[in-house]
């Protein structure tokens, strides 16, 4: 089937693989998928990170013909996947420290070069704390050297493993254990935070993308594309955390989709520092639809609701829509 399939179904959560030729179906639809992050791990119900990691690593495994080594930062993904003596990982996997996943991956990649194993590829992965905060120095070094590593950040917008503390990826106004919803300015403050996909782009690395567990086909495609490129690559995946965000486990995908469709989490790709593609928002949704599903924003919806600051979040979404031209 040569023609590009377009999906016009809206309001459904799945697009049937059965409509596609076998080679166009998702990795997860393949009975030979590797189950790299196998069942039985200890992630919470509705964990966005577990879902994102499963799709990302299986896609990378298929793209590399199963010649993959993964390095993991300390965090939820590490803890819930490897409660000794059990491990969910069906691939060679190493966890060293919280802040050094990118550098350890650089070392693994260097070893493959030294061994002449050009077919063995390397992924580093961590949460937003391990990526945008404590691991940021090593990440920037890996980018700057253009080491042959795909770094995947699973962004759930706070330190969830230690009990929901603020990270530099925590959005303004969100309640965390260290930005409590008390006082005259409850929640995380405005004017702070770090946009690591754009910082990654500033390094001029071959490929940067954002992805979401609401758009899993898109996520698989981006990981697959990333593995077709050599050099430093970065994918930032939006992964809701029911526990930390105070949302229903069943709403993980819905919330992730709303983050995209409000404009708060734009999906885009960049090559060598330039944005080359984005995912269009077909119907822009007001941010309140996204915010009100999460208890971390409950302080905005008291009586009366904090319309002034909800408007500030709407401005962030509008700014993204304008910047990335998301409506087109």
């Amino acid at each position: 089937m040569d023609a590009q399939i377009k999906f016009y179904q809206t309001g459904t959560f799945t697009v049937g693989n059965r409509l596609l030729a076998e080679d166009q179906r998702t990795v997860q639809a393949d009975m030979h998928r590797t189950n790299s992050l196998n069942s039985g791990h200890r992630a919470c119900q509705g964990c966005g990170e577990a879902l994102g990691a499963r799709y990302a690593i299986d896609a990378a495994m298929r793209a590399t013909n199963n010649q993959l080594i993964a390095v993991n930062a300390t965090g939820c993904l590490e803890v819930f996947s490897t409660p000794y003596p059990e491990t969910s990982w069906q691939i060679p996997w190493i966890h060293s420290l919280f802040g050094n996943a990118a550098a350890v991956a650089s070392g693994v990649a260097a070893a493959q070069r030294a061994l002449g194993h050009s077919h063995v590829r390397v992924i580093a992965q961590g949460g937003d704390g391990g990526t945008t905060d404590i691991g940021f120095g090593c990440l920037s070094g890996m980018f700057e050297r253009n080491d042959d590593v795909l770094y995947i950040c699973y962004d759930n917008e706070a330190y969830m493993n230690t009990g929901v503390q603020r990270s530099s990826a925590t959005p303004p106004l969100a309640r965390t254990a260290t930005t409590p919803a008390v006082g005259p300015y409850p929640g995380n403050v405005f004017g702070t935070g770090k946009n690591v996909p754009r910082i990654a782009m500033a390094h001029g690395i071959p490929y940067v993308a954002t992805a979401s567990v609401s758009n899993l086909r898109d996520l698989e495609r981006k990981v697959t594309h990333a593995m077709s490129i050599h050099g430093a690559r970065y994918i930032h995946i939006f992964v809701p955390c029911p526990l930390g965000w105070g949302s229903a486990s069943a709403d993980t995908i819905k919330i992730a989709r709303l983050a995209v469709e409000t404009g708060l989490f734009p999906l885009f790709e960049a090559h060598h520092g330039e944005v080359t593609a984005h995912t269009q928002i077909r119907h822009q949704i007001p941010v309140t639809e996204y915010l009100k599903l999460q208890k971390r924003y409950a302080h905005l919806f008291g009586s009366p609701p904090d319309l002034e600051r909800i408007a500030l979040i709407q401005q962030m979404a509008d700014h993204n829509i304008e910047k990335f031209d998301l409506l087109h």
Binding site: I94, S96, A111, S140
Partner: protein, 417 residues
């Protein structure tokens, strides 16, 4: 081949002869010349199949080393002082994972106050990290210890630090005998990892370990070092056989047979100590010395055998356990459990202060009369200290201490000599 060369360059040549496959480098004085030398060899193509990686910090240097070692290749790095502290978390991690990384420490003081000169505070701060620590007395020994270190590390799956005094050894030009590639290849077989990140045989490394197994994992780390107590002398003997000279081992004694006073020290200061021992022996003083090469594992039994017949032991330390005194002294005391003799801790050479024969002679004579304090600071300028203490007792806002002392002492040139 005999060569007149800088200590750092001699080490770079030794490391190159060990055929490392990944070298990570971050500059810090005084180890910089070592990685510069290796970088040049890699760039020039003299060191084949080796990746040289310029990283952005020491923490990254050790982290890259963890990755490459876990992926099954021979890995080397070097650092000093603040650099070792900056990588501390990864230093412990490398040992916990059992990765046979070899790292040179160009020993240097730790700030504040910032100081680039030699003492042993840096590697001593990592004494419990699970690394083997070997201290070199000379440039030749520094060179030789690296060749032994890779074999030791790989036989035990345990990382090894080779510690050499910053500037005193790293920057000193001396004659060294650089072995041939054939000799090194005969002594050091190719790296056969015990554990490996391998797509053909997937395994998880670095899993969470709870109370049910943590003690056993730690004990086995300790057990490795206990095995090293036996292995280090064996390797030194094998090295001696292959290369025709003595280097390494747990410790070396010098004129201790009938000694009443024995001085214990680590590293290059042993040369000066031995000169003073010779001079005092000529005057009929029964004095000897022990140079500890293996600080971790600490050679309790060998040290006990060397010291047990003495009347007193003077531990000369280039480091300070603030609030306690000596660090090496603790181990020495443990080795002498149940034996009654006088033990003295002497803190000397901090931040590069010269340890002179004159000062050591006076010190050892005082020790011989048992007129030393338990903890003595060699050549401490008591006037400066009491002036500062008095100033602090009179004024609340005294400003920073180090700067006040420097102002009182005056320009460096006026105080050297």
């Amino acid at each position: 081949m005999l060569k007149q060369t800088e200590g750092s360059h001699a080490v770079a040549e030794a490391v190159a002869l060990c055929r490392p496959q990944v070298i990570c480098a971050y500059p810090i004085t005084p180890q910089t010349h070592i990685v510069e030398g290796l970088g040049e060899m890699v760039k020039a193509g003299e060191l084949a199949d080796c990746e040289f990686i310029n990283v952005e910090s020491e923490f990254a240097a050790m982290s890259v080393a963890i990755g490459s070692s876990a992926a099954g290749v021979r890995t080397y790095t070097a650092t000093s002082s603040q650099g070792l502290l900056f990588m501390a978390e990864a230093v412990y991690n490398a040992a916990g994972l059992g990765l046979p990384i070899v790292m040179t420490i160009g020993n240097r003081a730790i700030g504040a106050p910032i100081n680039i000169w030699n003492d042993h505070s840096d590697s001593m701060s990592m004494r419990d990290a699970g690394w083997i620590q070997l201290f070199a007395e000379t440039n030749q020994e520094a060179l030789d210890l690296h060749i032994q270190a890779f074999r030791l590390a790989e036989e035990l799956s345990c990382p090894v630090m080779v510690c050499m005094d910053g500037f005193i050894l790293t920057h000193a030009y001396e004659r060294v005998d650089i072995p041939t590639q054939e000799q090194v290849d005969a002594f050091l077989p190719g790296y056969q990892p015990r554990q490996l990140l391998d797509p053909a045989d997937p395994a998880s490394f670095g899993a969470l370990v709870g109370p049910e197994a943590f003690t056993e994992v730690r004990y086995l780390q300790h057990h490795k070092q206990l095995r090293a107590i036996g292995l280090i002398p064996q390797l030194a003997a094998a090295f001696s056989k292959e290369f025709g000279r003595n280097s390494g081992g747990l410790l070396r004694t010098y004129r201790t047979e009938d000694a009443e006073t024995i001085v214990v020290a680590l590293g290059s200061v042993n040369g000066t100590v031995q000169d003073v021992v010779d001079e005092m022996r000529e005057r009929g003083v029964r004095i000897g010395s022990v140079s500890i090469c293996s600080f971790r594992p600490f050679p309790l039994a060998a040290l006990r055998a060397a010291l047990e017949h003495a009347k007193r032991v003077v531990v000369l330390e280039k480091c300070l356990a603030v609030g306690l005194g000596g660090i090496v002294s603790d181990g020495v005391r443990k080795s002498l459990s149940g034996i009654a003799l006088h033990g003295y801790t002497v803190i000397a050479g901090l931040g590069g202060r010269a340890i002179t024969r004159t000062s050591l002679t006076r010190l050892f004579e005082d020790a011989g009369r048992d007129e030393l304090e338990q903890v003595t600071f060699l050549d401490l300028n008591a006037d400066v200290v009491s002036f500062e203490l008095e100033r602090e007792s009179k004024t609340r806002r005294t400003g920073p201490t180090a700067e006040a002392i420097l102002r009182r002492i005056g320009p460096v040139a006026a105080s050297i000599g």
